[in-house]
Symmetry: D2
Subunit: 343 residues, 4 copies
């Protein structure tokens, strides 16, 4: 921690800060500058509460230097973490694409879409059984029946499935029926749920909340790793900004930022942010070009009839076109597209 003193601070002000630090078992080193003095506080193992200092006379501001996360950081573990879901691996040289409908509506619908996205090169099936909806009057998902449908479709197609756990009440069921458990953006700071995710025995897909800073996203992942589960894939899905021509603004700068400070893989979900199928392709391509480890894309055979959020779903043929673009982009960013081959 660095304590920046006012230009007009007197020696007694500096002495007071130093004393306060020592009393708390910390080391204080004053650094006189040409205009003002700063005081470095060291010796702490965790974060120090700035309130201890910021109210003292002569203190201009207190700057945090320590980072509050540990297990998720590259300083702690230098090599990239690989996250395995079935025979697919996130964070390695291959790109991974997750696709499927926003919500599981029926066995037939889910199976039909699954076969199509699989043929186009998607390797994991998505589909919501429990849907977090802004309005209590919107379709909330088929719940347990949805989970059973996903399991049957996996049986039929061999695709691992990822689906969202919207609360601690349902995470065990979700973990039982699926291969990867999604924590949605609205639950990114639902700490009891994060702790349960850390003990559920499945890899986790953790979505960034609409207003999360990079530090908050990493701390949410830290909750999961802290429970012993390091199989976490981060997912950028757009942040809330003043912009009114999209539903959320994808923050692509988080891709190199995460790569620098964390060993966890990161994918991008362009569908929800786009809110419009015409924008999904451009944003999906941008994600790959920016270095994402993969994509999660909504696909529906009749978007206009979808029970949930049909607004942004791609049709299977649009998704197929996107996949061939992704395969062509992969080598430009040093990625293999083998795992995405059309089948």
């Amino acid at each position: 921690m660095l304590i920046v003193m006012n230009m007009n601070a007197v020696p007694a002000d500096i002495e007071r800060v130093v004393e306060k630090a020592r009393a708390a078992g910390l080391k204080a080193t004053p650094i006189p500058g040409s205009q003002r003095t700063a005081i470095a506080i060291t010796g702490n193992l965790g974060m120090v509460e700035p309130a201890r200092f910021e109210a003292l006379p002569g203190v201009l501001e207190v700057i945090q230097v320590s980072h509050p996360y540990k297990l998720v950081s590259r300083e702690f573990k230098a090599e990239d973490t690989r996250v395995r879901v079935g025979d697919v691996e996130f964070g390695g040289s291959s790109l991974v694409v997750i696709a499927g409908p926003c919500a599981v509506e029926s066995y037939e619908q889910t199976l039909s879409v699954a076969k199509k996205v699989q043929a186009s090169g998607a390797r994991i099936l998505r589909g919501g059984a429990y849907k977090p909806r802004s309005s209590p009057y919107s379709f909330q998902g088929l719940e347990l029946e949805g989970l059973e449908i996903l399991a049957r479709v996996r049986e039929e197609t061999g695709m691992p499935v990822v689906t969202e756990a919207i609360g601690t009440d349902v995470i065990d069921a979700v973990a039982e029926f699926s291969d990867m458990v999604q924590i949605g953006a609205r639950n990114m700071q639902n700490y009891p749920l994060l702790r349960r995710a850390g003990k559920c025995g499945r890899p986790i897909l953790l979505k960034r909340s609409f207003s999360a800073s990079l530090t908050e996203l990493l701390l949410a992942a830290e909750y999961i790793l802290d429970q012993g589960n390091d199989q976490v894939v981060l997912c950028e899905r757009g942040i809330r900004t003043f912009v009114d021509h999209n539903r959320a603004t994808l923050d692509f700068s988080i891709i190199p930022a995460v790569e620098k400070i964390s060993h966890l893989p990161l994918i991008v979900d362009p569908s929800h942010a786009a809110g419009d199928p015409a924008k999904v392709g451009p944003l999906a391509r941008a994600a790959i070009a920016a270095g994402a480890d993969g994509l999660m894309v909504e696909v529906h055979e009749q978007p206009a009839e979808a029970l949930s959020d049909g607004r942004q779903a791609l049709r299977p043929e649009e998704f197929d076109r996107l996949m061939s673009e992704v395969r062509r982009l992969a080598p430009v960013v040093g990625r293999s597209s083998e795992v995405l081959a059309r089948s």
Copy 2:
């Protein structure tokens, strides 16, 4: 819903939209303008998925007209809702101030602060037993022990208490020990928790999330009312913006906005947004002047030693000064300050 056609849309484009609407059991009324045609879609009871129309040829944009909420709206219920907590009432002519420590740290600490804020005119005690913390390494609250302390302090002082339920696992315990259950900003869209709040038998203090629009806040409340509980107090606690001189930016325009479209009371929590005791007073006064129904303020006897978020806590004597300002502001905005009298 209003469908705005492209200037160059041909009659067949318009006919296609009209047919599509009729096929869905809706009524479509084309409105030719001097530059373009718009088509009004009526006859729907709930929201209509815009995706049904937005991909049709010649459609420029689709504008939602219906509002997705119902029970929380003033159109549905014109008179202000009064929310009773013990012998205190939110939403009436009297202002209500909730005060207390960020976290319950011990019986002695809580009792001592409670007595002081009560003497200054606070009528409800706040104090976190379960703390949602960004970092897994921060103090997470005394949990059940914290609830028991709150109950003992209520016994001793006669003040009703409000405390946060951070998940469905603990909401029953929170409801049992407290007089009002808080749903925190991070859980504003935790729908299983909102549903449980609707059936927990206690009035609810619902905090706006960092990135919630007015509609999303009202829909979160709608989840609670939809379960039969109309005793909901909304709480503005700041939104996330680019500003770096506060922790969150309080949006005071939501006070008249909520008053216009909803019958629910709304209070303001200036402490977390301020992140600095010197800003709490100005923001608290502003909230009252803007027409809020009350305040929630953090008070701690030794802010610098607080186990949680001491950064913004007022000292009891600072809180006392704020309360006398609030009492002087009340009549200017047509409020009684009787309930806030020093005791």
Copy 3:
């Protein structure tokens, strides 16, 4: 400047940073911590480019400590600056209210509104002669004729006038005809205009741009002071956020923030941010309660017929009601309302 090293940085990394600093004539002090080393860089008079260090091996991040402004800061000048416009003074114990139409439309309209707002207690007349409008097809102001009208109304009423200079081409004319020159939000970083404002011989009303940080606002003022003009009143008029129930979100936390670090007075313009007359009163009262030095409010006798932005204008009788509230609020925040007395 503080250079934070990676946990795994080796002594040679630290040495390299120290050398680089010394080569640039700066002093480098390594501060070993329990987890990592930080290096304090001192001896600089201005800002140091972080790029010099941030690319060196082992460097985790570079934290700026110096503040880039000087003349506007309280460290440089501790006492509040008073800004005089005619016989009115901003920044003293009295609140000051500026009021008038968004745009000067005619002599009769301007005079009529001026007399009414003056009677209600406004002391300075506002009115746009040059209007910065988003669309080239909107009314752009009466320009020179508008300035002449303002001068005639001042003659008639004795009220000093403030009006906007939208460019370097017109600032001399604006300064000649008015008593205070406004720099609008869209021009807050129009540096040639700021420099001219610093030499125009008039006090300046400098509006914060929609996306300006506190530092950027103060630096814009610094441009003016640097040219020898310290008669600058800052004006908060709302920032751009995701919120869709207002036109801009007023950031009241900037009031105590500016007060702490700058000696310049600050007023609030609630009209444009509100975009709705029903929100102007609550936000104006909030501004006074939060400690602003005054207000700028749009008033129009027939808002619905206004040539520019009638949307948020108060009617004279609404303004009169607001003024009586402001007079009652003043003493609660330690202000005199004498200057605002009805006349």
Copy 4:
């Protein structure tokens, strides 16, 4: 315009709105719905002020349908506009890359960088002669001397140059010495400058301001087209958000959004938003993949010694690597990279 009535509006309320519209020469068509009535207002040629209606009894809200821009819209002109700068064309099948130093520092520096970026495939040289700097104490550019250097380097290399005009005082000089005039983000709503840009006889590079909506950006361009200059290239350079791991957040969704509603070309400047050379490459690739018509990239031979904003500049060899990636991305998005060939 659509006027949405309150559920409880009575027939007299509706009649009042209809009358008000007719009195203003507009046509009003009430559309009774199952829950409420809406009233379509047509017959207007420009925008109608919502204030005329929004204060009437029974009115819930007023929704604008008309778009305020005209010349820039695809409805007005369906085919893509090509903007020619020397022998280079924006908006056609070829991508265009502009590169060079943030600021012109000397003839030697500029020439040396120009030759290198040209060899890597850049076709237009950038370099600031007039620099808009947040602080009055930062380097403000070589001004006229900088323009002369740019002209000499063009002579030497054959590359057309683009440089910024920071005010109406200097735009004639900038237009005389350069091939394309840049209007910077801070001046996007400097209307006198936009008008002069419309008459300066040069193609314009118009940067989106930090807080501009899509409509505001298009209206800024409309100012230029309205003066007879349709040679405008839009430039996304990042918006201000709460994110603290970049300097601005690039909004890639604006690429397909502009393509849908405007015929103007759009390029992306990733350098300023990144604020870090390690992020420039990923963001530049993303821009191309998302469909941008080109890039503008800062390149400096010794970023750490740059007089202005060295923080994000690429070194020539890093830029060369980026260019080979761009050439490989081009065909994936249906673009030719011929014009970008290494020379």
